[in-house]
Amino acid sequence: MEVLQYSLRRLVAGIPLLLGVTFISFLLMVYFGPDQTYQLLGKNPTAEQIAEIRAELGYDQPFLVRYADYLREVATLDFGNSNSTGELVTDLLARTIPVSLMLILPGFLLGNLLALLLALLAAHYRSRWPDKGIMAFSVVGMSISYLIVIIAFQVIFSSSSGLGWFPVRGWNVHSLAEYLEYVTVPTLATVFVALGYNTRFYRSVIVEELNRDHVRTARAFGVPPAKLLYRNVLKNCLIPIITRVVFTIPLIVISGALLVETYFGIPGVGKVTFDAITTGDQPVLKAVVGLTAVLFVLAQLVVDVLYRAVDPRVSLS
């Protein structure tokens, strides 16, 4: 009951954020975005045809009316049809979001779990060679651009001049074997890049906790290192870890896969959104941006409720 009440209050508090995100993106992407009138018209259009198309696209309405329409669309999840393909936007998203999720989730999970393990190891051997090795690796990983990693991994694992084990590009998934074939190289690239940043972040969180008095006391009482790291350190570090993980989720659902999708030619939601921006496909844009904002508000709520779950001292009022 308390959680429900709190959730409702948080959702209401999220409204200004929703309004802000939708307003700024509406202003940038729709109001100042590309004009589609002449792409949809044939050659030598008459003035009436131009006016008709502009009315259809809503260009002739005043700004506030168009923005209000947009808000109504977000609220009812009715975004109409894509201007480019004519497909219903909700269908388009239902088709592309699962692809992006399947593509990015393995890398996201592995990237975080491995990083946590490495960070625990580094923190445990603080200032000794395993720590220095892991941190050197993480600085190197952070210094290589994501794009370079993707290109290099594609050349090494997929191309004919490399090992040639996996398909170079595309997404033709009908079975688990095919899925593994297409997802492996993007996942390796994602994990490689994520490891550097995540390990560093997690290590600093863990080291901070290790310096606390209660850890020293536990150590003095002879708690074995593995148990100490798990029970006394890791559990107390959960709040920053949860924050980082949960707030990344809205981004990976919508845009995290953009680079991988563009490079490997995978029809996910990142690619669709990017194409929508470059062509001015407003119904798609409105849907994606609106949904991202909603996801962020939900993420904030989830984070707060999880804080409460992992730390009884946090109150929900």
């Binding site: 975005g33 921006i277 994606v288």
Partner: protein, 288 residues
């Protein structure tokens, strides 16, 4: 009492001493300075002037004439990659300086007026900009500005100031409760003078570290944005070289890709190590 202890010691003199003893940090700084000299040479027109000339055949291999070979249309890859150093510094410096300034001003105002309307607005703005995926925002700004060569800079600045502002806001909230601020209030110093003359200079260590982090982030973002067609419009950059190379690597020609990646890796890595060393040296909790 030793001589060192009697000398006047500030945060800065201690930090400088600590930084000088950090071997990796100083090595990083030396590498960054070497890159900077290369960039200054390009600006002065001393070298890499022929980066756009067609001087050889398609995909010439490494030779004494073309140190890194040539690209698809016969341009010298070595000159192009050196020229790109100056592009990287231009982007890094502009974005780092402006987004740090913006972050400092907005963060300080929000922190000083915390709990009031100014603060609420800045915090709201930070939350909103954080909730729009970065690449979508950049693409949107690029199209809203209709191919303006500065659209990439504008987009980066409009997102990179947020982290700086958050940190400055937190620090200012801490500082504004201290006695020297109370004293300034008591003798009637105007509010904005207190913010910008008395409080903000005390956050300078945060700004310095943040600007080095932003510099690195800007260089890395440029590569990805240029690949997506949203980055550098005229001139040459590592991002453009890498996006050129995406067709070449599958054909087995790696010079373009390697030249840009290795040079970029060197600068980013050296700068990150220097930035870490700076952060360690300036961390007040560690200065003893």
């Amino acid at each position: 009492m030793s001589v060192a202890a009697t000398r006047r010691q500030s945060l800065w003199s201690k930090a400088a001493w600590k930084l000088r003893r950090d071997r990796f940090g100083m090595l990083g700084l030396a590498v960054v300075l070497a890159y900077f000299v290369a960039a200054v040479g390009v600006w002065l027109g001393l070298w890499a002037t022929g980066w756009g000339d067609v001087a050889g055949g398609k995909w010439d291999s490494v030779s004494s004439e073309h140190w890194f070979g040539t690209n698809l249309i016969g341009q010298d890859i070595f000159q192009r990659s050196i020229y790109s150093i100056s592009t990287a510094f231009e982007i890094g410096l502009i974005v780092a300086v402006l987004s740090t300034l913006l972050g400092a001003v907005l963060g300080a105002m929000a922190g000083f007026f915390s709990g009031r309307a100014t603060d609420e607005f800045v915090v709201w703005l930070m939350g909103v900009l954080d909730s729009i995926p970065f690449y979508l925002l950049v693409a949107a700004i690029a199209f809203a500005l209709e191919g303006n060569p500065w659209s990439m800079h504008v987009a980066m600045i409009s997102t990179f100031w947020i982290t700086t502002a958050r940190l400055v806001r937190g620090e200012v909230i801490k500082l504004k409760g201290l006695e020297f601020v109370e004293a300034a209030h008591a003798i009637g110093v105007p509010e904005y003078t207190i913010i910008f003359r008395h409080i903000l200079p005390n956050t300078f260590h945060i700004l310095l570290v943040q600007s080095t982090i932003t510099f690195v982030a800007a260089i890395k973002s440029e590569v990805i944005l240029s690949f997506l067609g949203l980055g550098v419009k005229d001139g040459m950059s590592w991002g453009l070289m890498i996006s050129e190379s995406t067709f070449e690597v599958l054909a087995g020609f790696f010079n373009n890709f390697l030249a840009a990646s290795v040079l970029m890796f060197g600068l980013v890595m050296a700068f990150s190590i220097f930035s870490d060393a700076l952060q360690d040296a300036l961390d007040p909790r560690q200065v003893s």
